[in-house]
Amino acid sequence: MQEFIQLPIFGVFISIIAFAGARELRKKFNYALLTPVLVAIVFIILFLFIFNIDFDTYNRGGKYISFFLGPSVVALGVFFYEKYEEVKQNLKVFLLSVAIGGITGVLTVIIFLLLLKVPDFIIESLAAKSVTTPIAIEITKLTGGIPEITAGIVIAVGIFGNAFGPFILKKLGIKSKIAIGTALGTAAHGIGTARAFEESKLAGVYSGLAMCVNGIITALITPYLIQLSFWGVS
């Protein structure tokens, strides 16, 4: 048995099964917190815990799955091109919104974490918390944080935006579906975008584009903003 779970196929198989099962569960019960990715991760962690299998053993196979994050980020560029036409009329305002929103997302989380006096590696791991997981992971590798912490928090941010984003924005007086979509994509990446598509198709398109644009902006500015803020406190 011990030898079997050392095979990469174990990690690959349990990832696929957990994800497929979680998607079926979502079809039956439509709660925001039953986001397939969260359910799949919790299920796999519990499984590894119960059978006393460590993460490195699982990741012998898991790394073949996460390898596809690289080409998936490139694929987002294709998605961006396809949807680009649909936002043309609002392009300047859209880019302004995502750029300012993106910078705000990085700056505020750094400032709050500095004020709350957490260790530096947590700040480095969370600075890119608003952008899509594969990009956030890459940013964290550059800033010196821990990519696994980034992935967990980024997913949590997405679920938060998905579950509460539209409600909060409507309470704050936002009416435009395009504004809600752009905000969800900027602050809560792909998981937020899934919710934006439920608001309207156009909101979803804006959200998906905002996710791509903020991914680039955050990737460009985060290393500098972190350096700047650490320099500022020292």
Partner: protein
């Protein structure tokens, strides 16, 4: 499909090569995303040549980051120690980001 995959991996490779040789502080795949967008805009490559692969990759994007999420288990103690400041900072920052981004479109959008 094979051609589309070759393009996607080709641009990924190109992005990685450029960041490697010029020591750019940006990930190769993010540069690859930017380059494939440019190549499509400038009509160097055709949408239908890359779409079969890119659609499939985006469809299963969520699956691909599950192993990183599972990796969080290794850092369970860190999260347990700092869950309160992390939650406060992340939630506050997310709400502010949502609002700032939305209000700009609400005020100036069409």
């Amino acid at each position: 499909m094979l051609k589309a995959l070759a393009y996607i991996f080709g641009f990924l490779l190109l992005g990685e090569l450029i960041t490697y040789f010029f020591e750019l502080p940006i990930a190769g795949n993010i540069l690859g995303m930017f380059l494939i967008f440019l190549a499509l805009r400038l009509k160097i490559i055709k949408l239908q040549d890359v779409k079969p692969a890119s659609d499939k990759l985006i469809k299963y994007l969520v699956l691909f980051f599950i192993p990183y999420g599972v990796g969080l288990m290794v850092y369970f103690e860190i999260i347990a120690n700092y869950w309160l400041p992390i939650s406060v900072a992340v939630i506050a920052s997310t709400v502010i980001t949502l609002y700032i981004s939305a209000i700009i479109i609400e005020k100036f959008g069409k």
